[in-house]
Amino acid sequence: MNELAVQFDGVSKGYTHFSLENIHLELPTGSIMGFIGANGAGKSTTIRILMGLVHQDEGSVRVLGHTMPAEQAQAKLEIGFVSEDMRLYGPATLKWHMEFMRPIYPRWDQKYAEELARRFDLKPEQKIKGLSHGQRVKAALLLALARRPRLLVLDEPTTGLDPVARVEVLGELMAALADEERTILFSSHNTLDVEQISDQITFIDRGRIIDSDNKEAFLDRWRRLRLVLPPDVQVPRLPGVVEVGGSGRLPVLTTDRFEPAMVSVCNELGAAVQAVDTMTLEEIFVANVHSRRERLTA
């Protein structure tokens, strides 16, 4: 569990209208990282650098002990990759794809592939062009899982899926997690999906990683404090407040460093704490992005 499956160290990549800057990312073996960012935040570019498909301008990338992009062929032998913009060959069947990939991967598990086909309700003899979007995603996931990868990289795999297909795909991912040695990087802008399966969360915005921690720590340290201020009492200055909302006498403080002692501090300063609300991952993500963007424009 201590080894790093993925390690980005000071990685940068520049394009004309977008740049990925100074990315530091560590993914321990056996962990499941949810990689959350808005559209265009840099999730796919980061993942493409991880896969060796895009060369970083600066910094180093190591994946499963291999230096990327130089050793991408060796690394990809142990990576299962599914991305939202990946398509299988329309005129070929799922069975053809399985037969095509079987000799490539030494750990290919045909029984598991057939079992997944049954569980996903996929017919191996059916041509890919005849499958729905959800079925195509499941087929790609099947091909990624049946190679028994040490690292599973999923770039927005649930985008465009109907609720039933999404639950099925996420369910299968949860089952795949039973293998403690398998590491998963799951990128999405859907925080609900990420929250369900991840134990590590990383937020990315405008090409920079803005926060990274384990999920429980995120959920524990982010809170909304609803205060009632008597006349002449100022909004208390608390550590880690990233956003002050609400109205003048009824402020709502969002903090990323919540401690239970904050409640008594507020009371001592004359501000009554009406409620301490937990936050969903989506609320945490949005607050995080807003506060960073406000800091940058200030």
């Binding site: 498909l53 895009v54 060369h55 990809k76 990576i79 990946m86 398509r87 060959y89 070929a92 095509f100």
Partner: protein, 223 residues
Amino acid sequence: MNYAMVRRLIWKDWYFQRTAILLAFLGGAVSLGVIAFGGRAGFTLGVILVVTIVVMLSAMTVMGNTIEEREKQTLAFVMSLPISYVEYTTSKILGNLLIFVPFWVAVVGGSLALIVVAPPIHGFLAFTVIMAVEILVSTCLMLAVALVSESKSWAIAAMVTGNVALNLVGYLVAHIPGIRRQMWGTAIYWNATATTLVASEIALIALLLGGTFFIQSRKKDFI
């Protein structure tokens, strides 16, 4: 170089082009039959048909194996396999040539055989070889541009350029004194001019393919 992986990718490309290959072989055989047994009008029609089929197969394989892979987003699937850029490029160049060249050899061989058995057109042998290799140059140009630019528009531009060049080269070669003198004769000939022209074409092919490897190995964004 992972040759097993390169072979696998070549087999995949061949599999998806197998219908086009089969139809091209059938069409090529019919065209040669028309040339052989169609009289004077059949000769002209057959030559047009055979050149059209060769050019079509060349365009279909290059577009189908390279540009369509990007357009239909199957390139992400291919590049997720354990291959490097150089292995991908090798598989594309070898794959396209292994699809096209056997057909090209069969058609050119058939055409030369017809020339050899028909004394009135013996003089066309050198011209036919030069133009056949020129078609190979056009195919390699299109393949190189398709791989390097990854753009349908540029690949089409290369295809048009290749076809225009084919007509232009045909016209120029037919007017080179060393070729023109014997072209309409009834004797089989081969001279230093023909050797120079074919050698130049082969050098151009080597330059195009070598340049493609050079550029591909220095690319920083592959998808």
